[in-house]
């Protein structure tokens, strides 16, 4: 024993701890095995969830299949899971109309990016302010955030204020600003700051002469990445998926977002057709367009970015939801 160095002792200790952990885990697993559902039940449950998952995913696959069917086969056989005749005509059509599509995509992206940025700033600053234990206006601000959760002006009053008083109609800001803050998000960030930022850090920084803005930017934000990610994601999806603001306030074709475009062409497929190829009149062009598959193709253009991204960020969503559910 005497010849062992300090490092050896430490290493032995660590090994022991590791071994104990493994044993404890195994014991827990054994205990869990005692308390498991029976094999057939497990199979049945798996089957049920498999069906539920299919029900959630199949519509997307189906719409994709329609979007790559040829217009004639759609007219003849209806919508089918496996198209009789494949065709990329709808995507080629969208490519021809790329002015409209890219403009809408640009608006969607711009609104999402700017809105998320503004929203995160407004939400987290208020969350931080509310999380400070001593602040003169704290109860005032708390009430200010809380009241809109149980009472709001309603659709019409909001419309009147945004359109007539703030003159936001047909501007990009009407898509951005009204959705930027929600009291739910403010409370999530407040709860997070309160539970993870030790007061002592803030106090010591204050003694060193840092202003609250400095503390917030230099100390609080860098250690709050999980909550920033959560709120940014909530906002990103709500901006990307928003069509309601557009349908209320936007008439200018230049400001149509992807969702609004999809919304408009549901009723009127010609909405998109204003770019006839040479030699065709507008009327001929409209009749020649693959209207059924084009509709579905635009839906796919909207869904694909979400479908690619959300599995990676799902855990932030869940953590945000559970933080939000904590009273505090």
């Amino acid at each position: 024993m005497g010849s062992k160095t300090f490092n050896d002792i430490i290493r032995d200790r660590l090994d022991e701890v590791k071994r104990n952990n493994i044993i404890a885990k195994r014991e827990e697993e054994e205990a869990n095995k005692l308390n498991r559902i029976r094999k057939p039940t497990n199979l049945i449950f798996n089957f049920i969830f498999f069906l539920c998952s299919l029900a959630c995913l199949i519509p997307v696959v189906f719409v994709f299949m329609i979007s790559i069917s040829s217009e004639q086969s759609l007219a003849k056989y209806g919508y089918r899971f496996i198209p009789k005749v494949f065709s990329s005509v709808s995507y080629r059509f969208l490519w021809n109309e790329r002015d409209v599509i890219f403009n809408a995509l640009g608006i969607s992206t711009l609104v999402t990016a700017v809105g998320t940025l503004i929203g995160v700033i407004l939400t987290t600053t208020m969350g931080y302010v509310l999380s400070r234990p001593v602040f003169k206006l704290k109860s005032f601000f708390t009430w200010m955030v809380f009241v809109p959760m149980i009472f709001n002006g309603g659709m019409v009053a909001q419309y009147v204020v945004n359109a007539n008083m703030l003159k936001l109609k047909d501007t990009i800001w009407v898509l951005v600003l009204p959705l930027a803050v929600s009291s739910f998000n403010v409370i999530i960030s407040k709860t997070f700051f309160k539970s993870t930022i030790p007061d002592s850090i803030v106090e010591s920084a204050k003694i060193d002469g840092a202003s609250q803005l400095n503390i917030f930017i230099r100390i609080v934000l860098p250690i709050s990445k999980p909550v920033l990610a959560t709120i940014a994601l909530f906002l990103t999806f709500s901006y990307w998926n928003d069509w309601f603001q557009s349908s209320l306030y936007i008439t200018n074709k230049k400001l149509i977002s992807l969702q609004a475009l999809l919304n408009n062409i549901m009723r009127n497929i010609e909405y998109i057709a204003n770019n006839p190829d040479g030699g065709l009149s507008l009327q001929q062009y409209k009749t020649s367009m693959p209207s059924e598959s084009v509709r579905m193709a635009i839906a796919i253009v909207i869904v694909v970015p979400i479908a690619c991204v959300y599995p990676f960020f799902q855990k932030y969503f869940i953590s945000g939801l559970t933080i939000g559910a904590v009273k505090g």
């Binding site: 704290k138 002006g153 969702q259 869940i318």
Partner: protein, 319 residues
Amino acid sequence: MFRKNEKKKIKRRRWTRDDTELALLGFPTFVWYVLFSYLPMFGLIIAFKNYKISAGRGFLYGLYQSAWVGLENFRFFVESNSFIMLLRNTILYNVVFIALGLVIPVTLAIMISQLYSKRRSKVYQTAMFFPHFMSWVVISYFVYAFLNPDKGVMNQILAYYGKDTIMWYSASKYWPFILIFMQVWKTVGYSMVVYLASITGIDGTLFEAAVIDGATKFQQARYITIPCVKPIMIMMFILSVGRIFYSDFGLFYQVTQRVPNSLYTTVSTFDTYIFSALQLNVPIGRTAAASMFQSVACCGTILIANWIVSKIDADSAII
């Protein structure tokens, strides 16, 4: 959602530099709340006025000049033919949504927490979470692919079995089921994951003790799991009861293809009514009255629901 005793902790003290800095930090959000949250509340006075646009003048001038009509706009709305129908639809749909929104996700969450394979459970969660990330506009296209009268899957199946095809978008008797199905389809994965998060947070020793006492799986769910997720269920319940006069506008408007006339009495809710009134030239005061009715009624129900819950179980109330 804040503790009541917090207010007492703040003692009288002088205004410090710290307070100024925090106030400045919160100022932009304060402005946002004033403009987009409190100004509309103030804007509700339009519901008590017979607002007329005065040409060439600002909106505020027009508002100031319009005559007060008291509760005339409300009377018009409540006495109109649509009111009872709207009230019935909105509340009935919401009652079904609230009931299913508690029962189905909790059941599924308990089931999914029992699966042997954790990896498979993750895959199922991810798949079922997917609809939550899609807008109703996109979903309305999915529904259209199934219900389209000539080409949709449903009618192809009906035709295959030799049945008469159905003009889905004008057959009102099917729509309550379709709407309920779509609502459950879109929200079930999301709520299931919320409940699952709180189920996995339950202390494992509780279940171990139950096993030693010989409890069956069903008894464990009944006496351990459900009481442990009850606070979240109650919170979800109060929040959804607080929105009982509102409806998910996208569901009722987009999925039905903009509320066709043949479906009007089956699928109209307050929100679709107000939205179409905004698009048409209905006097804005009347529309505002309908909208204010919603806000006030909801504020009332959320306070009552919370009061009842606080009487039964003070810890579960949210205010």
